[in-house]
């Protein structure tokens, strides 16, 4: 890894850190649980690394490790996104037939 690559990686890291702070701190408590599962799904991005390891056929060990990694990450990605969607679909402002009154409260 050349100094250049390291430095530019550091830039990306620093900027992402700031951005992460800014973006996440704007998520309201209402959505903290969905946030958790969403970041969970996104962290499945380690797939990117796993896939290559699993497919490059460096050696049997790497392949096995890679395969396992692919499996784990995929579970996260799919599971995470599915659950997040499920949750978000539950959040409604306009109350459904069940409870017209719901946001008359808000007045």
């Amino acid at each position: 890894m050349t100094p250049e690559t390291l430095i530019s990686a550091l830039y990306v890291f620093a900027l992402a850190a700031f951005l992460g702070y800014q973006v996440i701190s704007r998520v309201p408590p209402l959505l903290h649980t969905p946030l958790m599962s969403a970041t969970n799904a996104i962290s499945g991005i380690s797939l990117v690394g796993s896939i290559v390891t699993a497919g490059a056929d460096y050696n049997i060990v790497s392949t096995i490790l890679g395969f396992t990694a692919v499996f784990c990450s995929t579970t996260n990605v799919v599971g995470g996104f599915v659950i997040t969607d499920r949750m978000l679909r539950m959040f409604k402002r306009k109350p459904t037939a069940l409870g017209e009154e719901g946001n008359k409260l808000k007045g």
Partner: protein, 458 residues
């Protein structure tokens, strides 16, 4: 050309992830945001599949398919009440993946990596390993597979620190004197063990905080992977993940008015705090279900204050039905949601949303507290610590200073709980002894269902 395509797909993925999380700043934009993030993930995967190093797709496909199936199963069938466990488990998976990639990179290079790469790889593997076991233990505790109470022994912290030191020592050595497989695997092993030791002394109730921490470790592990593989999308996604976890844990600690160190090494909810209990004395006034039903039926304004008990009782739907019954009678019903009610951030919000309570009826601490004095009945549904007046009135209390929902300011209070059980903090709750307070014992769900009937006939 191909590199370009891959790189661009990664860049797009990163941008889409950021947009996705930005979307979560409001429930309206959240769904669309997630779709963007999902699309981003797809791009990243497709891009990766183009990678020139890939020679066989067998294992990749198998992994993707199996993973998707398991993921789908988890995603569809895990009940909302089991969210904490689910999250813990998936942290373990994510971190494990990162660790494995790191290990294979090391193995492949026969352990001969340049300093910088080795540095990043070390972080990746260690964070990955300890997060894996740590999260698994957290999962077990939350799922009740092992006793949730903190497991402590004399000199525990010292021992853990020593272990950590050794692990890091090996790591540093490997950076400057690369190549030793055994040492590397020793390091990995120790990291795995350390994860367990880290979580052992922490009680089930503190798990959410720890989990968020583990979450940020998992994130940082992926970021480190990014440094190893010189892959920006990994760095970005990892860092975002890391920060989200970190910020959430901070918020929780703040809302519980406790320091991170206290959470991590305080072994809260064990010896220390149980001593606290029994300080308070007086009589708890038990009230009859029908009285309450009448009281509610003829009230003008009622505020529901749900807590962990509602979650364990799965009473959210019953709550919603009671609310409907009351609203039918023209009673104004609001919900007061404490930031750390339940066992994970936003726990109550999700459950009530599931019972399709409109989120416009959910009010945060600051919004609802001024309303209690004008409230006829405050119904405490399986909440305890978050309505404990000691936090406000008694500077000596271990939870002193933790902001609470001031139900005791309401004209009258009804507490639904099963018995004399304590809250997560293990503290006595003076609220239960106040004159305004009436206790309605029994499982929240049953009680509420009965109340619905009673209200309708009141």
């Amino acid at each position: 050309m191909r590199t370009y395509f891959i790189e661009i797909s990664y860049l797009l993925a990163s941008i889409l992830f950021i947009l996705g999380l930005k979307g979560l700043s409001h429930p309206e934009s959240a769904k669309r945001g997630m779709h963007l993030a999902e699309f981003g993930m797809l791009m990243a995967i497709i891009g990766t599949l183009m990678h020139y190093e890939i020679v066989t797709y067998v294992w990749i496909i198998t992994g993707l398919v199996l993973g998707s199936l398991v993921g789908l199963a988890m995603g569809l069938w895990v009940p909302m009440t089991a969210m904490p466990q689910r999250t813990a488990l998936s942290h373990a998976f994510g971190a494990f993946a990162a660790a494995l990639v790191g290990i294979s990179e090391f193995y492949r290079a026969g352990g001969h990596l340049e300093t910088i790469t080795m540095g990043a790889l070390g972080f990746e593997v260690m964070l990955g390993a300890l997060t894996t076991t740590g999260s698994l233990l957290a999962f077990a505790k939350l799922q009740g597979l092992v006793r949730g109470t903190p497991l402590t022994y004399r000199g525990q912290n010292v021992f853990n620190m020593a272990l950590l030191a050794t692990t890091i020592g090996i790591f540093v050595y490997l950076i400057f004197v690369p190549g030793s497989m055994p040492l590397f695997f020793a390091m990995v092993g120790l990291a795995f063990v350390f994860g367990l030791l880290l979580v052992m002394p922490i009680g089930a109730a503190d798990m959410p905080v720890v989990m968020s921490l583990l979450n940020s470790y998992a994130g940082l592990a992926s970021a480190a992977t990014g440094f190893v593989l010189k892959n920006n999308v990994l760095i970005i996604a990892g860092t975002l993940d890391g920060f989200s976890g970190f910020i959430l844990s901070i918020l929780m600690c703040r809302a519980m008015n406790r320091s991170m160190t206290n959470v991590l090494f305080g072994a809260f909810g064990s010896a220390a705090s149980s001593a606290e209990s029994g300080g308070q004395h007086g009589v708890m006034r038990e009230v009859s279900l029908d009285d309450i039903a009448v009281q509610l039926a003829y009230a003008n304004k009622v505020i529901f204050v749900p807590g962990y008990g509602m979650a364990t009782a799965q009473a959210q739907h019953a709550v919603r039905e009671l609310a409907n019954a009351l609203e039918k009678r023209g009673v104004t019903v609001k919900y007061g949601i404490h930031p750390v009610a339940g066992r994970m951030p936003g726990h109550m919000n999700v459950l009530l949303a599931e019972a399709n309570v409109p989120y416009s009826a959910l009010y945060e601490l600051e919004q609802i507290n001024p309303e209690f004095p004008t409230t006829d009945v405050a119904v405490v549904i399986g909440a305890n610590d978050v309505v404990n007046p000691d936090a406000r009135d008694n500077p000596g209390s271990p939870i002193a200073g933790m902001p609470i929902l001031e139900v005791d300011r309401a004209k009258s209070v009804v507490v639904l709980k099963r018995g004399q059980g304590k809250g997560f903090s293990g503290l006595e709750n003076p609220l239960f002894f106040k004159d305004v307070t009436g206790m309605l014992y029994g499982d929240a769900k049953d009680t509420l269902t009965k109340l619905v009937g009673a209200v309708q006939h009141a």
